[in-house]
Point group: C2
Chain length 592, copies 2
């Protein structure tokens, strides 16, 4: 019996001890007394409550805890304060920029005690072993971190899908709760490839995390009918309502990638059942983490936006736990659950005075009291940029058959900083090559496989990126095994990519053969080993350097790395070519 719908429950021996403490036959390790407690099951705020804890678990909640409190019991008198369950983040991306070790230092003081993260960033660049190494880095931490298996919806045909045997090994893990976000277009375009993975996941009793951006009505129904049970993509109250009505759990995003809470909060006036509404970040970048904090910021904002505070707390605790069938373990303050609690001044004020996780006080008044575990990554995780040689400027040439004249090409056209369209246009041929043209804001863009077929590359043209000089590259190209680089000079493009090769991962801005700014990402080529503060500092320099070179987007690095992404409409690039997400097909630069 290896499959478990929920992570490992406590042992019979641990339960035995809980019984004794609940009955008063043994003393608790920890007690929180005289508290107001937010009961997320009933939606009440109960007065004069005590909670007793044995080991990692809650033994008793109520008004008669005295018999279980002895001289060895640590007692927290919470008179005048309010206790809420530890917060649960249901959808985030830890495998980007920071290590769990650094990340947790900034998460723990805010009161988040359970996190579910995607892992798909790791899979295309480091495979199953990489995902396992990443998951191991999340284990034995002061809070609980679960993962979802990579669905590998990729622009790259070679990187698409996960072999069933690999998925089985991942789903077999107690710390993997489901199959991570798999974009709706993919399953409707390639049901034969995707549906068996869905079937396998559901048969293992685990969830299918959704991504239904842009789907509505029939397409949304078709997608939901596949067994999808969540979506974190709706951006307004109407889209949320459409999805709740189909039975999805909806994660309202308020993080670095999008901030939709204020808009979606209008749903509070619709008098509907909110049990399937969830607060989530979908990832927080270092600067936001330092400035705003983590999920506690989202919860506070939900309250400030007018959600009933108890309903908002449910949206960050019980509702998330129920979605993942974790509600016997986390999500509420009740016997048998992990002793995960946050003591706050009052239900309107999400400012953690005490954070208790697995029965241990891990933060007080914004100060962390424990050290996260620093993971030793496997050697191969630290050597994931497998280029066989440094690149030459000539590797970025765009040769065509003719020597002169012009030719119809497909250009990636930036519509917003993230959304792109296909621009078919005539482009001049100069000595048998196509060249960028800064006057028309057209640069070169290349995607270079650094993993599966190292060095396999595709180059094309991009309009509206803004670059006037130099090049910018990154080894964390979304959904692919690629390095992505945009440049107006072949030498700088080679320089940036070669620097990434030397660093075994990173983000680099080059101009005139000089490195202007860089952030090393030695772990899988996507994660730094620096502190959050240092990462934030380097990112600022990268942004400044890119902006100085003309890039006109608010977050140049994000704009760069999403060029390979499989979920944002609609003309993308990978090492195989241009990819039109409307049909998922790969296309060449030259249009026939």
């Amino acid at each position: 019996m290896t499959q478990t719908g929920i992570p490992k429950p406590k042992t019979a021996e641990e339960t035995s001890q809980l019984i004794k403490v609940a009955l008063g036959d043994e003393k608790a390790d920890l007690a929180v007394i005289n508290a107001k407690i937010v009961n997320v099951y009933t939606g009440e705020i109960l007065e004069d409550q005590s909670v007793t804890v044995k080991g990692e678990w809650i033994a008793y909640v109520g008004q008669n805890a005295e018999g279980s409190i002895g001289p060895q019991t640590d007692v927290i008198d919470a008179r005048g304060q309010t206790v809420i369950p530890g917060l649960i983040e249901g959808h985030t991306h830890i495998a980007w920029l920071y290590s769990a070790y650094e990340f947790l230092k900034h998460v723990i003081p805010g009161g988040t005690t359970t996190i579910v993260t995607e892992t798909f960033e790791v899979y295309p660049v480091s495979g199953y072993d990489g995902v396992v190494d990443f998951l191991e880095s999340l284990k034995e931490q002061p809070i609980k971190i679960f993962g979802t298996a990579p669905a590998m919806i990729s622009t790259s045909q070679a990187a698409r899908g996960v072999p069933p045997a690999t998925l089985e090994k991942l789903l077999d893990r107690d710390d993997v709760l489901g199959l991570g976000e798999s974009y709706w277009q993919a399953v409707l375009q390639e049901p034969d490839r995707i549906l068996p993975l869905y079937e396998q996941t559901l048969a293992a009793g685990k969830t299918l995390e959704g991504h239904s951006a842009g789907a509505g009505d029939k397409k949304l129904a078709a997608y939901v009918g596949c067994g999808i049970s969540s979506c974190h993509e709706p951006i307004n109250a109407d889209q949320v309502l459409d999805r709740l009505r189909m039975g999805l759990h909806i994660m309202i995003r308020e993080g670095s990638i999008r901030r939709d809470l204020e808009e979606i909060a209008r749903i509070k006036d619709k008098d509907i059942d909110l049990r399937r509404l969830i607060l989530s970040t979908d990832g927080v970048e270092p600067e936001d983490l330092l400035e705003k904090g983590y999920l506690e910021f989202v919860l506070q904002k939900a309250i400030d936006c007018g959600f009933d505070p108890v309903a908002a707390i449910q949206m960050a605790t019980l509702n998330v736990a129920e979605h993942f069938s974790l509600d016997l373990l986390v999500g509420g303050i009740a016997p048998g659950r992990y002793a995960d609690m946050v003591i706050i001044p009052d239900v309107q004020t999400i400012k953690a005075q005490w954070v208790i996780s697995k029965g241990r006080v891990i933060a007080r008044e914004g100060k962390i009291l424990v050290s996260p575990r620093r993971h030793t990554y496997a050697n191969r995780s630290l050597n994931s940029v497998k280029l066989l040689r440094d690149l030459e400027p000539a590797d970025f040439s765009l040769h065509v058959e003719e020597e002169t004249g012009s030719i119809t090409v497909r250009i990636i056209d930036m519509v917003t900083d993230l959304v792109t369209a296909e621009l078919k246009t005539q482009w001049p041929i100069i000595e048998g090559q196509l060249q960028p043209d800064i006057h028309q804001d057209v640069a070169k863009v290349s995607a270079i496989d650094r993993t599966n077929q190292p060095g396999k590359a595709f180059s094309g043209l991009i309009k509206g990126f803004g670059l006037k000089s130099g090049a910018m590259a990154c080894s964390a190209a979304w959904d692919t095994p690629d390095i992505i680089v945009v440049g107006v000079d072949d030498t700088d493009m080679a320089c940036a990519v070669n620097r990434i090769h030397a660093l075994q991962g990173g983000a680099v801005v080059c101009d005139k053969g000089q490195i202007l700014a860089e952030l090393p990402l030695p772990v899988f080529g996507i994660i730094s080993d620096l502190s959050i503060e240092e990462i934030a500092g380097q990112l600022k320099q990268i942004k400044r350097a890119a902006t100085d070179l003309g890039v006109c987007h608010p977050d140049p690095l994000l704009t760069l790395i999403t060029l390979t992404g499989a979920a944002i409409p609609y003309l993308r690039i990978c090492e195989e070519g241009l990819v039109n997400l409307k049909d998922g097909q790969t296309r060449p630069l030259v249009a026939s």
Copy 2:
């Protein structure tokens, strides 16, 4: 991969077809159009909705179904009517009196399309093979019936517990959702015996169904801390609230064993979150089934008691599905769910005009349109009364060591028709024996093992049963492998038991050597092969005969068979002796 947190999801091929129908690329098999739909996810009633169905599953719900409706599509125009999800019964006892075949004839017209039943009645008398045969009788029926594994909390030491290997085989089945009700006293008294079964169940991703009658505060917390996730035992709003606060799903009982809905309905005024409240019958006897119907009666009554109709419908659909993690399959009208729908006049009137289950119309206007499957039981299921010989009157003698005088004995004292206490009193010895005394309303009571050690028996005395003459026996003695018999005449006691032996199961009333009334129960000795109407008729005769013989309780048979039960306080009997449920220990008739 054999474990599944949820029953088998649809195949990739079925899902492929759903996608096509949702998109309008293929035609639906069935469509319900122009309906009001109760959306249990959001709590809304939506107008002008259509539902399309392919095979057993819902493909699309919304306002744009036309493209999926073709000439071959069966169309139900539900204009002016309301569609609700098929009702889900979360806790019942089918393994008593009627076969699934007969039972379903009376359940289906009311709109119940999913049932979860206990199986523990079968286990002590027919073991694992019996439980499997019983579960097989529930399969391939017009509606879905799931079971819970027997927890085997028994008064009989020999019958207590289920071997882990047996439990594993049962939990491994897709149609077994959890471990059935296991009374709280047992786990607090014998944690070493019970907790490993709990651990095993939770590790399989399945639920622990609870039974917390009489537990409060600390004891309730101790029990809940073991991982219990439901209880169907509270009898008033305060007990319900106590349990909801601990995170339990609470099933409000309104059936033949208890009717608590009216009392518990007061909870509607408390302004609490009702997401964990569930409507249930806990079993309906033949007469009630004929007169009142099944779960639809409970739902109607909940509405009549003042629950908001949509909240009440959630309590009989989504809330139940969520408790069992079945909500991707049933509980709401959404893409990918089983096409289980009930068309009613309006949300206040739970009168099924159409019942649709797994995409098929199975009832209209109270008339069933399909035939349930009649199961062929295994031979050994039909030969479960394994007595090696007929009993003699002398087998019921109560011998003591002395010849005359008196002796202190423990007498089962009926406090209500179900609750008993221990009466310690002096009892006269007549020729070395103890005799019943109808003037003091004291009869003999015997429990005779018919399974494990056939013929092993224990006899004692019972006060307050009412019997003035004859004897009454039944082979369906709760929680044990026993035949239970109460009598004031040894010959009649032997006659009743021997008749049960001859019938291979039944309930029998004898007087002066004559059978006054009987109901054969040939399947496992607990289930009849008669129609519900015939069973109700025989039960009436048994009741009349028992009442004529002086039994003063409203349901003499129920009072008889619960004498061996392990959950109702507090002095019980089994083949091993008297059992004091306060400590679970077995005691002799003669008090030291």
